[in-house]
């Protein structure tokens, strides 16, 4: 593992090591991500892209980081790359779809959930939410229960006329948890705050 770190840092001076509990991890600047990935794939045999995801650090800058997990099937080792995006307001980074076609849908998901723009992606569109959905739900400012949004039912053939829309679903103060050690009748997962339910509407802000 150490030789990978030495080679990477020697070849790309701007790479730094990152604290990791398992596999080696590196901070990679956004401008070098494509070069580093190509180098790891061609010279170190990291032939499988396991996952691309992102982290929203909310108040920090750079706000968004993209996380890559690579696997070498020959050596059975993983490597993790963390790459801060360039802009906080409209984050963007180079697409690695040209190296691993598997990146296509992972990057679409990261775009859908975090709003990160992957440059040179062949078709960067939403993958989980519908086209035209106005939010990126995994950003920190997005509320856990969701936001009321019109559904894409504008087609007159399927229009109900009842204004069906995406509604904010009460979370009952989730995330839900069960206290260990309680009797089973009390160990049912419950929210810590159940003030807002279907029966009791959400209290208005500031009251």
């Amino acid at each position: 593992m150490e030789d990978i770190a030495k080679t990477l840092i020697g070849r790309f001076g701007s790479i730094t090591r990152r604290k990791s509990a398992d596999w080696p991890a590196f901070n990679v600047p956004a401008s070098r991500i494509l070069d580093v990935c190509r180098f790891l794939r061609d010279d170190f045999g990291y032939d499988v892209l396991i996952d691309i995801t992102a982290v929203d650090w909310e108040h920090e800058s750079p706000r968004f980081s993209v996380v890559y997990h690579l696997l070498s099937t020959a050596k059975a080792t993983y490597i993790r790359l963390v790459c801060p995006c360039i802009h906080d307001h409209k984050p963007s980074i180079q697409s690695v779809e040209s190296l691993w076609p598997a990146a296509n849908w992972h990057e679409r998901e990261a775009y859908d959930m975090f709003g990160i723009h992957f440059e040179d992606h062949p078709e960067l569109s939403r993958i989980l939410m519908w086209d035209g959905y106005p939010y990126h739900p995994l950003r920190k400012e997005f509320p856990l229960a969701g936001i009321d949004t019109d559904l894409p039912l504008d087609d007159k053939d399927i229009d109900l006329g009842d204004g069906a829309k995406a509604i904010a679903a009460p979370m009952m103060g989730g995330p839900f948890h069960a206290t260990p050690g309680e009797p089973m009748s009390h160990a049912e997962p419950h929210g810590s705050d159940e003030s807002w339910t279907e029966k009791h509407p959400k209290p208005e802000e500031g009251k």
């Binding site: 989980l128 939410m129 519908w130 939010y135 739900p137 997005f142 229960a145 969701g146 936001i147 559904l151 894409p152 039912l153 087609d155 053939d157 399927i158 109900l160 069906a164 995406a166 509604i167 904010a168 679903a169 009460p170 979370m171 009952m172 989730g174």
Partner: protein, 173 residues
């Protein structure tokens, strides 16, 4: 002819049966519901099980799973309806010919189930009219068969008149 003949006897009654058209048509509908599996999640596995030999929904005349909405009478919404899928479910429901029924199978299709999130519709009855709800996560095949039998009772007992079915179309008259 035996003295205890309860069945229809053409020699006695002639080749005539007297009934109500509603009753006859609804009896036909009841015993030949063609379901359309709207399999969206794990409930679809139990739906398949209910059609297979162990549970065998064909005992009730419902073995003809139609994957074309044009040929189906009863849409079985089996699984989680996401907001992205909702317009598709709605469109397929619109493509089914009247009369048509909907079964919401399982907790997700009935209420959103354990998914309280920005992505999940909190019950498919927000976009299509549901006739029977089935509880369970997922329901056992017996529960689905019970729901289909309840639907049969609805078909035969609810006054869904067949008036207009044989009305001459005005544009052809």
């Amino acid at each position: 002819m035996s003295p205890t003949e309860y069945a229809y006897n053409s020699k006695v009654e002639g080749e005539v049966i007297v009934s109500k058209l509603d009753a006859v048509i609804n009896w036909v509908r009841k015993n030949s519901v063609w379901p359309m599996p709207m399999g969206l999640a794990c409930c679809a596995i139990e739906l398949m099980g209910s059609a297979a030999s162990r549970f065998d929904v064909s005992r009730f005349g419902m073995e003809v799973m139609r994957f074309s909405p044009r040929q189906a009478d009863c849409m079985i919404v089996a699984g989680t309806v996401t907001y992205k899928m909702a317009p598709v479910v709605r469109r397929i429901y619109e493509q089914m010919a009247e009369p048509k029924w909907v079964i919401a199978m399982g907790a997700c299709a009935s209420t959103g189930g354990m998914y309280r999130s920005y992505a999940t519709m909190q019950g498919v009855d927000r976009i299509v009219p549901v006739d029977v709800y089935v509880s369970g996560c997922p329901p056992r095949p017996e529960a689905l068969i019970d729901a289909l039998m309840k639907l049969q009772n609805q078909v035969i007992s609810k006054e869904r008149s067949v008036k207009g079915l044989f009305k001459p179309r005005e544009d052809l008259a």
